[in-house]
């Protein structure tokens, strides 16, 4: 009964989405206020029914209703209740419903926080969001219902994929979807502006906080995915350039370009066409990710079950949304007037250069991701593109952007003088070059990539310090600085920390595959590891073999690591649970390989030493906090009409 209510609620949500899309959009075009006023209540209704549908699915999972096919194939009665709730977004159908729910959440957020916007704009934005909801809700109802039943139901379900039974996986998808779908808001603002033909600084100011919040969520989502892969896959890697990872990374790169370009559009009225295009592109890349993961056109470790019918449906939907918006863009582009003028050496020109680099990086990642498909479709054979391509292309592309990132925030709008900027930055430049050249001397092996990475990282960090010093001089004290300033520099500092971590782990990690008998010792990076054998124990839904490894470093107190190998009862899948000893300067990572004899006394053991890997996660966290801080700046809260003065450097002509 409950699952049928779920289906029914989905149908009602779809009907309300149609109302939310059609009436306000037509009303805005005709200037009919009554029709425009439908947008907000329809959005609330759509949210309510999508939520009901989602709760029905949660209920089916919690009560182990195995007549529901989705529950039978993704859950199991011994699965802890916690994971039964998260299993709702572990499958293709469930995650689509979750996508729709998050879209509905963003929609009511727009409906609530848009009181200061013109009614016509609100109607158009909610209308476009309604169109996107129609696409997803009908996809759910037509090809991917999570509420399909089978009679008689199986006695037992076939368990949630053990890889997903991890708390990193619990929060990763919601954050990622918050990011993807958040860009749907920015997309809708862009389309609404194109429809109305009014692309001005006000449009950029309305979009900006939404873009920044979406970007912060996406950052969190991407980095949680990476953190999960690091801990859960047992390979010690944190980024694999897998198509699905790339699918989340491309919107992130485009979104990063977008939030910077929006700054120029808001402050200086320049780059309007470019900014709109980036807004369309960022959400299009999010949709592309959805398509790639669910259609089976690329092979990936994370892909959902492949179904060409679903793939065709999502492709058709993408054609309408992306193709339609790009056609609208081409049609309206001539109406966009150029903004304020600027010279080649100004904050605008540096942001533009940064944007070009970001978009080039997106193109490089897109090419590498889709290359196997292009070659296959052209009948030229089968191949795969691996990390060597991405590392070789991406690192040189992004390095100049990291350098410009240090200069840009310190420059004036419109134009600045080269000697002046050089004067302000010479100390930072000198220290950064010295750090890059000298710091690797203290490490094992002098590597050019380490010189570059550490140099750039310290360059960014030093310029952030200079920015604070200069601003405090004019503003008096730190607490007078606006949150946007804090947010931007925190995010930049976060990137500096992250770059340092990536540089260190990529250049100086150590890996050791050893055969260990009980009592055997291995040496790595100054640690002595002693293997003490394995024990068996039973978990809630798995049986585990737990190894004990005692680690000693110099005269310090020894500590113990417990790497595990788990066999999940229901599916029989074997999972490797690595044991990690984290610290600020390095991780020691031990994972249990295969037993090498019948008595289980000798094992293949993998040891990794990962210097500064935690800086990566810490840096990302700085970026996320910085994003939220910037989005909560006073000038967005006091509304669109009253504009607060935003510091001397921000004043446009």
């Amino acid at each position: 009964m409950i699952p049928e209510i779920g289906t029914f609620a989905l149908i009602l949500a779809l009907l309300l989405a149609v109302t939310q899309a059609v009436l306000p959009l037509v009303g805005a075009q005709r200037g009919n206020l009554t029709w425009m006023a439908v947008a907000r209540p329809a959005a609330w209704g759509q949210f309510t029914f999508t939520l009901i549908a989602y709760l029905c699915l949660v209920y089916a999972f919690l009560t182990n209703d195995f007549t529901v096919i989705n529950v039978a194939s993704n859950s199991y009665s011994n699965l802890p209740a916690f994971y039964r709730v998260t299993a709702t977004w572990g499958s293709h159908e469930g995650s689509l419903l979750f996508w729709s729910l998050i879209l509905a959440v963003w929609t009511i957020a727009v409906a609530t926080f848009s009181r200061t916007l013109p009614e016509e704009m609100v109607a158009r934005v909610l209308g476009v969001m309604g169109l996107i909801s129609i696409g997803f809700l009908s996809l759910l109802l037509i090809t991917s219902s999570p509420f399909l039943r089978q009679f008689p139901g199986p006695v037992e379900g076939s368990d949630l994929n053990p890889l997903l039974q991890d708390w990193g996986m619990i929060i990763h998808p919601p954050m990622l979807y918050m990011g993807y779908v958040g860009f749907a808001v920015v997309f809708s603002f862009a389309v609404a502006a194109l429809l109305s033909g009014r692309l001005d600084a006000a449009w950029a100011r309305w979009s900006r906080p939404w873009a920044t919040v979406a970007w912060a969520f996406l950052t969190l989502g991407v980095v949680l995915g990476s953190w999960w892969a690091y801990r859960e896959l047992g390979w010690g890697g944190w980024w694999f350039w897998d198509p699905v990872e790339n699918a989340s990374f491309m919107p992130w790169l485009a979104g990063t370009a977008l939030i910077h370009s929006l700054a120029v559009a808001e402050k200086r009225g320049a780059f309007k066409a470019w900014t709109v295009l980036l807004a369309l592109m960022t959400f299009s890349l999010s949709l592309l990710g959805t398509f790639l993961v669910r259609s089976g056109v690329l092979s990936s470790v994370h892909a959902f079950a492949v179904d060409p019918q679903r793939g065709a449906y999502i492709l058709g939907f993408m054609l309408l949304v992306v193709g339609g918006s790009l056609a609208l863009f081409a049609w309206r582009a001539p109406r966009m007037v150029a903004g304020g003028a600027f010279t080649w050496f100004s904050r605008e020109s540096l942001l533009l250069a940064n944007n070009v680099v970001m978009v080039a990086s997106v193109a490089a990642v897109l090419l590498g991701t889709l290359y196997p498909l292009f070659i296959d479709a052209l009948g030229m054979g089968k191949l795969s593109v691996g990390p060597p391509y991405f590392n070789a292309v991406f690192v040189p592309l992004i390095s100049p952007a990291l350098f410009l990132m240090g200069v840009g925030p310190l420059m004036r709008w419109k134009g600045d003088s080269v000697p002046d900027v050089l004067q302000r930055l010479k100390w930072a430049l000198g220290i950064a070059v010295a750090t890059g050249l000298l710091l690797p001397l203290t490490m094992e092996g002098y590597k050019p990539w380490a010189v570059l990475g550490l140099g750039l990282s310290s360059w960014i960090a030093l310029t952030v310090l200079i920015a604070f010093r200069e601003r405090v001089k004019t503003a008096g004290q730190l607490s007078n600085l606006p949150r946007a300033f804090w947010g931007m520099h925190m995010a930049h500092l976060g990137l500096a920390i992250g770059v340092a971590g990536i540089t260190m782990v990529a250049n100086y990690e150590q890996e050791l595959d050893v055969r260990m008998n009980v009592g055997d010792q291995a040496q790595m990076a100054g640690y002595t590891l002693t293997f003490m054998g394995v024990q068996q124990y039973a978990g809630a839904n798995f049986a585990a073999t737990r190894g004990t490894v005692i680690v000693k470093e110099g005269n310090a107190e020894p500590f113990t690591l417990y790497p595990e190998k788990r066999v999940y009862n229901r599916s029989g899948s074997v999972m490797t649970e690595a044991a990690v000893r984290p610290s600020l300067s390095s991780d020691l990572y031990v994972s249990l390989g295969e037993p090498l004899n019948e008595e289980l006394s000798t094992w293949a053991v993998r040891l990794y030493y990962k210097p500064f890997i935690n800086w990566l996660w810490i840096g990302a966290l700085f970026m996320v906090v910085g994003g939220f801080l910037a989005a909560s700046d006073r000038r967005y809260r006091i509304g669109a009409k009253a504009r607060a003065p935003a510091g001397p450097a921000a004043q446009g002509a």
Binding site: L298, G311, L370
Partner: protein, 174 residues
């Protein structure tokens, strides 16, 4: 014209995606297609005294199905293989039992039915490497002269059977 470029670029991508929907990225062409099937001699599950070799099948069209008791998608495929074997619409199927470390194959086949004419036991996975097996299940079609004619990666369903195997088998005169 510049403003139409994003749309044009996107439409080209859509073209590729449309084509991509009809391709299977997991299917890697086997270098053995059109070449002689690698030979081997392995003990048979259930009777360690007897051995199986591809030479035993000479003169007839046959299929080699690579499976394992621990493989979940093989269990799905097993139902179809049973139906094919019972209705005699398929040529003889040999089931290469791949890396069966738990030694469950014999018991499993006794319980759920045996669609195979022989079940060679590739415990070490050596023969699988010779044949270029990338995972289970995989199915090969070998013609009367011992030449590999078709390779399918992943479980066979009715659709794949009708559209991929049946035409090839007809062509080979099975």
């Amino acid at each position: 014209m510049k403003r139409w470029l994003p749309l044009v670029f996107f439409m080209v991508l859509v073209g590729f995606f449309t084509k991509g929907l009809f391709l299977n990225p997991r299917e890697v062409p086997s270098p053995f297609i059109g070449k002689a099937a690698p030979t081997f001699s392995l003990p048979v599950v259930g009777d360690a005294q007897k051995a199986f070799s591809p030479a035993d099948m000479k003169g007839q069209v046959w299929m080699l199905n690579v499976w394992a008791p621990w493989c979940v998608s093989c269990k799905v495929e097993h139902k179809l293989l049973m139906a094919l074997a019972e209705s005699r619409t398929a040529p003889p199927i040999v089931g290469l039992n791949w890396k069966d470390k738990t030694r469950e194959a014999q018991e499993l086949l006794a319980r759920t039915g045996n669609p195979y004419v022989a079940v060679p036991d590739d415990l070490s996975g050596r023969v699988g490497i010779d044949w270029g097996v990338t995972g289970t299940p995989e199915t090969y079609v070998i013609d009367r002269n011992g030449i590999v004619r078709l390779k399918h990666v992943g479980p066979i369903d009715m659709d794949i059977w009708q559209n991929k195997f049946v035409p090839k088998l007809k062509e080979l005169g099975a």
